[in-house]
């Protein structure tokens, strides 16, 4: 068996349809909750506690804590609501010529990145991402603004397969 053959992924995973529409791993929702929700909770807590202390020292208007509670609550609410929707709307397709991404909740985006235009392909795995066994694929095109395109929430095996396949399709040396 050709070790570079991506159509036969290791670990007995089912073969993936090439060029077909794919979704992210379902556990990315849990990952987003673990990171974004935690971040929002900490931020909201800091906001509320800070304003409470500020009020205790006799400063600020009486409605300040109310505003802080509402703002903190909204922050947490958004972090609670967003991940399932983000997951539900994420789709991507890869073949030898094109990487296309579709995502977004309020603002829908559809991006097409020609594979031969990719400058380099990165695999990012943060510490919490690693706990969940997830990886983010980042492809860069030439240019400075908006030249990085990322696909989050891939299983490590799939991400590596995608990277290898893109690199193979792109050829060895492109400017």
């Amino acid at each position: 068996m050709d070790p570079n053959d991506v159509s036969q992924p290791p670990h007995g995973a089912p073969p993936l349809v090439d060029g077909g529409e794919e979704r992210l791993e379902r556990r990315v929702v849990a990952y987003w909750y673990a990171t974004d929700l935690l971040k929002s909770l900490v931020l909201a807590a800091i906001l509320v506690i800070g304003v409470e202390f500020w009020r205790q020292s006799g400063n600020g208007p009486t409605w300040a804590p109310v505003v802080a509670w509402i703002a903190g609550g909204l922050l947490v609410l958004v972090a609670l609501v967003v991940p399932p929707f983000a997951f539900a709307n994420w789709r991507f397709t890869v073949d030898d010529r094109l990487l296309s991404l579709r995502f977004g909740i309020l603002f829908l985006e559809n991006r097409h990145v020609p594979v031969p235009r990719m400058q380099h392909v990165d695999l990012m795995r943060g510490p919490i991402e690693r706990l969940f066994g997830l990886a983010t694929l980042v492809v860069f095109t030439a240019g400075n603004e908006g030249s990085a395109f990322r696909v989050p929430g891939l299983s490590r095996v799939r991400a590596e397969a995608l990277r290898d396949r893109i690199l193979r399709a792109r050829g060895r040396d492109v400017v």
Binding site: V113, R117, G143
Partner: protein, 528 residues
Amino acid sequence: MSSELPAVAAASPSEGAVLLRGHLHPAVLLLSLIGGLRSAAFPCLLGLVADRMFLILGGVLFLVQVGTGLVRYLTFHYVLTEDELRTREGVLHRQERRIPIDRIQDLGFESTILRRILGLTVVRVETASGQGVEAVLDSLGRGESENLREVLLRLRVRVARGVENAGVSPADGSFPPPPSAAPDPEWTIYRASPGMLLLRGLTDLRIGAVLVAAFGAYEVADRLGVLTQIRGVGATFYDWLRGFPIMLAAGMLLGLVFGVLALSVAFAAVGNLMAFHGFHLSLRADSLLCRFGLLTTRQKTLPRQRVQRVRVEQTWLRRLLGVAVARADSAGSGRGTGEEAPGGFDVVIPLAELAGIEALLPAVLPGLEQSSTQVSRASRMLVWRVFLRSCMDIAVLIAVLLPFAHEAAWFGLLLVPFAWLLGRLYWQGLAYGLWQHHVYLRWGVLGSYQVLLPTAKVQAVALMRGPLQRLLGLSELRIFVAGGPPTRIPDLAKAEAEALLAALSARATIAAADEWNERRVGFHPGPA
């Protein structure tokens, strides 16, 4: 220039043969000496007047500047081989840079008045790295830098020809001999007339910016209560003015206002005349050459196939007069939206009649002459989107003003017709076209801005749809190129936008694949 040619011809065919090598010009030392004196002058003055400690500070500043200049002069070293430009500098922190020849996007020469007196030129090497200038050789002798550019240009042409003719990659060492001893002929594309440059200065809207800023300053002064003091000064001035007959006083006031205006216009005009003095755009062996400047002279070469995007811009004043500015973005030259390249390095035509610029464009963007120039209009729903968006803004404005201005805030409703007008103008200004080798886009409410970008340079394409756009069935198309921010075509009908997205990404993929084939095996499919 023929004296330099043996250096190229004599280069051994082995890979990476050294063509040129050199150091900085010794006069750089004088430059750092002057720089040191300049930075030490102020502390020394302070030292003489106030505290002796400042003298020490001045001395340290002077020594540091001269020292770094000396170290840089002694250690800086560049080598041009057949496939790369290497620079090296530094003692403790040694830095070596290697820039492959075919990645060099743009070569810029700049020399300030001081450097010109000393016969020096700063060479700026731009690549597609996104930082713009990759290496700065500050400074070389004028002859040396000309020579460097000559050899570079020749190398680039040779790489291109080697691929096309022989079908062998130049790295194999089978370079064809230089085609002729004489340098390639130079074709003048455009030469700026002093009148046009003057007009450029006169229509520089920074005058408008000055007026706006003055108005803003007045507002701020009003808020801070400084105005009463200004009024006090004004009252004295008024009393003084009252001493004159009324006609004379009015005349003096008018004269003052006009004087300030004329001064700012004159500043803009002189600035433009000096910056773009003797602007000359020419074409040589498929590279664009620009030369301009009175005190600080600038030169740049931009290979035509590296042009990522050409912009033809008319601010409202220039649109009234039917004149426009043309700029070319190369990869890596990208700056944020609305920012100008420092020193006007991206200007291709400082100012000319719009028809004239349109006639010249094929010289900058090859392939444009044979393509159709058909444009399509955006969806009419765009008028609604702009109108609704503006109405939302007006609603917010009224809501914010209501606690302060009470009933008067409802006068904000008078803005609603203008929101519709804005939508209409926006729709009228917007047009786009997918031509044979280029994407065309025109937009603008008062001014008119046109963008042309080769489809082969497209890096990525994206569609965006916000909530309001989804409601109206609209989509925004974003085209990413290697230079500058993405080009946006707002508010296309959804089906049209999706067709464009597919067409553009397909073309970009094919172009990229062709480019890649060309590089690897010398396979050249020819223009599609």
